[in-house]
């Protein structure tokens, strides 16, 4: 009797951990297994290529959500237009979308899911450099090619990694000498404290010195800074002629607002990442009249762009300037689809070979890659932020080469 009771108790006690384990397993369950049965990894591309399957990663929640959403929008429109035109290999392109939340751990898991479970042929996306590295590492290990689409200071490279983002050199080479000429040689650098702004300013420092200017102040503040007074005071003390800002996200808005209030912007130039399109809605009065170098602006004068802008404005019901990353993603995805079509297979080697030598008509002109360091080659534009037509093209600057050394082999 007692024994029975004891046994019953024991059984309920076993219940805890085992039930927890079962619950977790059930949540994951699918037929097949990692050991024995089922194919492992990509399909190798031999024989008849099936539908092209693209894995898409974008942080549509979390701190990089504004950029992530713009990326997703440009990408979605590209897929829509590709499929309207008959798809790739005569079949519609399939997309698996995952939100990476701008978190590297999530991005790793997501990339693993894309290559292991979804067996995608290509990974497109991510915004922040840490998630890009995380996803690209997984992709590289699995031999799946990958692209990103936002301005980046990545020194990461691999044989199948083809970033569509502008490099700091491309963004700054024409901008800096013009700003020095217009405002003067004393430049203040400011940015959030992480890798991209620091690399951005390494490049800008060099360009400023080449243009005969000097860096009179250089300040970095952690992401999420809301009070910029100490920095603004220091910048004011340095009496710069113009300010190059790599402050991003909500910080860019608070920095520019407060700089304006303190009179830091009076009679001084301001440019950099903080005057990009996504900040225009919040900072229109402060940004109007300023210059920026971009690869993509919705003011580009091409038929292709007119179609894209119309589709974008209609699909997402917005009149705000279209962020550059959306244009890059649109071009990038169409570029990749074309490369697959040309290669005639989903084999990574064949596609990468195609990407390396292909030239493609993008929204702002021909897009291609430097086969050695995988830096994207496309014309840049000097724009002016005018009320009514923000980021209107002032001058086409042509392709800006970036000779940085990367080990892509």
């Amino acid at each position: 009797m007692v024994d029975q009771k004891l046994r019953a108790r024991r059984l309920t006690r076993v219940g805890g951990p085992v039930a927890a384990g079962l619950a977790v397993l059930l949540a994951l369950s699918a037929c097949g297994g990692s050991i024995g049965g089922g194919s492992d990894g990509g399909d190798g591309g031999s024989g008849d290529p099936g539908p092209l399957k693209i894995g898409m990663l974008a942080p549509i929640t979390g701190p990089a959500a504004p950029e992530g959403i713009a990326l997703q929008r440009g990408f979605d429109l590209a897929i829509e237009h590709i499929n309207d035109d008959g798809g790739v290999f005569g079949q519609p392109v399939e997309v698996v979308f995952i939100d990476d939340q701008a978190d590297p751990a999530t991005a790793t898991q997501a990339a693993q899911r894309l290559v292991q479970q979804e067996e995608v042929d290509y990974i497109f996306g991510t915004i922040t450099d840490d998630t890009t590295i995380a996803a690209a590492t997984v992709a590289d290990q699995a031999g799946v090619p990958m692209s990103q689409a936002i301005a980046t200071a990545l020194d990461y490279c691999s044989p199948h990694f083809w970033p569509f983002g502008e490099t700091p050199t491309q963004l700054l080479t024409d901008l800096v000498p013009r700003m020095v000429e217009e405002f003067g040689g004393n430049v203040a650098l400011v940015g959030n404290d992480y890798v991209f702004p620091r690399t951005y300013h390494e490049v800008s420092t060099q360009l400023i010195e080449e243009a005969g200017g000097t860096v009179v102040a250089e300040e970095y503040s952690p992401l999420g800074t809301s009070d910029w007074q100490p920095i603004i005071t220091r910048l004011q003390g340095a009496e710069p002629d113009w300010i190059l800002s790599a402050v991003v996200g909500g910080d860019a808005v608070s920095f520019v607002q407060q700089a304006d209030q303190f009179g830091l912007l009076e009679g001084r130039g301001l440019t950099g990442v903080s005057v990009d399109q996504q900040f225009y809605p919040a900072l229109a009065p402060q940004l109007e009249g300023r210059s920026q170098v971009v690869r993509y602006t919705d003011q580009l004068d091409s038929e292709l762009n007119a179609t894209f802008v119309e589709a974008y404005r209609e699909a997402y019901d917005t009149q705000e300037p279209i962020p550059g990353v959306a244009g890059n993603a649109y071009d990038g995805m169409r570029f990749i689809a074309e490369a697959f079509e040309q290669a005639g297979s989903t084999d990574a080697e064949a596609v990468s070979e195609q990407i390396a030598e292909m030239e493609f008509e993008g929204l702002g002109g021909p897009v291609g890659f430097d086969p050695d360091n995988h830096v994207v080659q496309a014309p840049m534009y000097l724009t002016s932020i005018e009320a009514g037509s923000p980021y209107a093209v002032v001058e086409e600057l042509g392709v800006v080469t970036d000779e940085q050394e990367k080990d892509c082999a």
Binding site: A65, S221, G224, I231, G249, F262, L283, E320
Partner: protein
């Protein structure tokens, strides 16, 4: 001299902002024993109210923000917190954490993730002892400190405040004295969080509005509250001054990132030296004078 004035103004502005946050957080912590980790999200709510109603005149918008804050906090107290007090600090902390997620996500669903801004209602700058300073910033600091002062005055000098303090000291006793604890608690939570909403609304023109805006404000406010004797009402204001001073000082003389690290290190040392919270002389004269009133 000039740099000293600039420094003083920086501290003043930060003090005003943190004091609003810390006094509210401290009230809720002292009276309810609730660590309101959604406090920063209420700041965000205040800022977004100012953005959403941009057609309304600024001062009226402030009043509306306060109204929204009151309604929202009473609702939160009524639907979420009320049943949880008896379960202790952890339960309410986790519930407030859940509320913070909900507020952030609702803001994102409504306003999107693109940063927004609120235009300054007052342009231009004034001359303070030879230093040019944005008028609005100065105005906000003064208004914030006046509000904090008014709240403390009400708490220390009126019978309502006496009741409040009584119910903090001893809830059972207060109930015997005919103070409805339920009303007192709901009221305290509403006032405490509405102070945060007001802080967000007042400072909205200097902020870049994103749904995640509030997260950064929780830590300094939390530090200001926990640095001082628990349950103290004026203490958090002093804590806020200390946090504002310390962070302005560090940020003026160190690079931002080093300043952050030194700030945390200083906190740890402070707490290691005074684990039971710093107790301040300042509030004692306030309490004494109120005893006379009582």
């Amino acid at each position: 001299m000039e740099s000293l004035v600039t420094f003083g103004l920086a501290v003043l502005h930060l003090f005003g902002f943190y004091a609003l946050l810390a006094v509210g957080l401290g009230l809720v912590f002292g009276q309810l024993g609730v660590v309101n980790v959604a406090h920063g999200e209420f700041v965000m709510v205040g800022a977004y109210v100012m953005y959403a109603l941009d057609a309304v005149p600024f001062v009226l918008r402030l009043a509306l923000a306060v109204g929204v804050g009151l309604v929202l906090s009473l609702l939160a107290e009524w639907t979420i917190l009320r049943k949880l007090y008896s379960r202790g600090m952890l339960a309410t902390l986790l519930a407030m954490w859940g509320l913070a997620i909900v507020l952030r996500q609702v803001a994102e669903a409504v306003f999107g993730a693109t940063p927004r801004s609120v235009p300054f209602p007052v342009q231009g700058s004034v001359d303070v002892l030879g230093v040019r300073y944005p008028t609005y910033r100065l105005l906000v600091a003064v208004v914030s400190l006046l509000v904090v002062g008014a709240v403390l005055l009400v708490i220390y000098r009126t019978s309502l405040g006496l009741k409040l303090r009584a119910s903090i000291e001893n809830r059972d006793m207060a109930a015997v004295l005919g103070i409805s604890p339920r009303v007192m608690i709901a009221g305290t939570f509403a006032v405490g969080t509405t102070l945060a909403v007001l802080a967000g609304a007042l400072n909205s023109p200097t902020l870049g509005l994103t749904p995640g805006l509030g997260v950064a404000f929780l830590a300094p406010a939390f530090f200001a509250v926990l640095m001082v004797r628990p349950g103290s009402i004026a203490g958090p204001a002093v804590g806020a001054l200390l946090v504002a001073l310390l962070s302005s000082l560090l940020r003026t003389y160190f690079t931002e990132t080093v300043a952050d690290l030194v700030f945390f290190a200083a906190l740890v040392v402070l707490i290691a030296v005074r684990p039971a919270g710093l107790s301040w002389r300042l509030p004692s004269w306030l309490t004494r004078s109120s005893e006379r009133v009582a």
